[in-house]
Symmetry: C2
Subunit: 182 residues, 2 copies
């Protein structure tokens, strides 16, 4: 999923400045499955404007610096819809936690405990964020994906809580075997 499509998707929902796009992608509705940096947002926005897919106008705000608000154009919306039509690529998923968990027997109970407890907290926070998003937005498709997220992340958290101790119990087993062999 490239930055261009992501920005088009965000602007399709509502007008936004580069700064606001960044916020959406790291705190808002999109944060659950997307994240973009300023370093790619601003150049992409310029390119998008040059291609006529979005247009920007300066807006002055009281108590804040001016911002440049972008809107998607008809051409931009067409482009976005065309992108949606091609079958979505499989999810990209990378997890350091799973690597650590899979190597639990190599590390200490402390390391595993910290790792899983950190994950539990992160999961709880993500669920809170998604829950907050649901309340704010009554758009049906958004409700659908937030229900989906809540369902999956709820199951995830439940497993983590139920099986926390059994993972911690595995810590250090490989080390002990090594010592026994010496």
């Amino acid at each position: 999923m490239n930055t261009q499509t992501l920005i088009l998707a965000i602007l399709n929902f509502q007008d936004a400045s580069g700064y606001e796009i960044k916020k959406q992608s790291s705190e808002g509705v999109f944060s659950y499955f997307v994240d973009i940096s300023y370093g790619s947002i601003y150049p992409t926005l310029s390119k998008l404007e040059a291609d006529g897919l979005v247009f920007g106008r300066s807006e002055s705000q009281s108590g804040k610096p001016d911002k440049k608000v972008f809107s998607i154009t008809t051409k931009g919306r067409q482009e976005f819809i065309a992108t949606l039509a091609s079958p979505p690529a499989i999810d990209k998923f990378k997890s350091e936690f799973l690597l650590v968990a899979m190597s639990a027997d190599l590390t200490s109970p402390e390391v595993i405990t910290k790792a899983i407890d950190k994950r539990i907290i992160e999961m709880e926070e993500l669920i809170k964020v998604i829950t907050g998003l649901r309340v704010e937005c009554d758009h049906p498709a958004t409700q659908w994906i937030t229900s989906y997220g809540l369902h999956v992340k709820g199951a995830d958290l439940a497993f983590l809580r139920s099986n926390r101790d059994s993972l911690i119990a595995m810590a250090g087993k490989a080390i002990k075997l090594d010592e026994a062999a010496e």
Copy 2:
């Protein structure tokens, strides 16, 4: 999670050639949360060998070309354990499907149907792969992460099946609104 740590993790479980590491990372136990390409495996393996974290030897096989099998060294294992000790970064997750689903009202029922049915099939296949992995390997920590995966992906698939039709029903709503406005 960088390529170096990933390769160390794989070699910590068993010796492997570059080709086999690629297979592990895209078909084997690690495929669930990792994927690396040849273009980064081979150079990293050379670097790792130069640093004394792994060592390779040529092995001739009957009916197949020779392969260079790598093993992790004590130094490599220490390095890997040290990496595990730092708190794991939050999962990286990017989903084109969620973007499409969130924009369901912009597209046709056909596009949404294809997207969700593709996802259901992929999910079923992933569950099959993880199930297969469980049978092959009785390492406790691996059992733990595969149970975890099965639990979460099972919940995921259940949601997809239960809510497939409601998502499809949302398709085209935005288009109809546009037409009504004209």
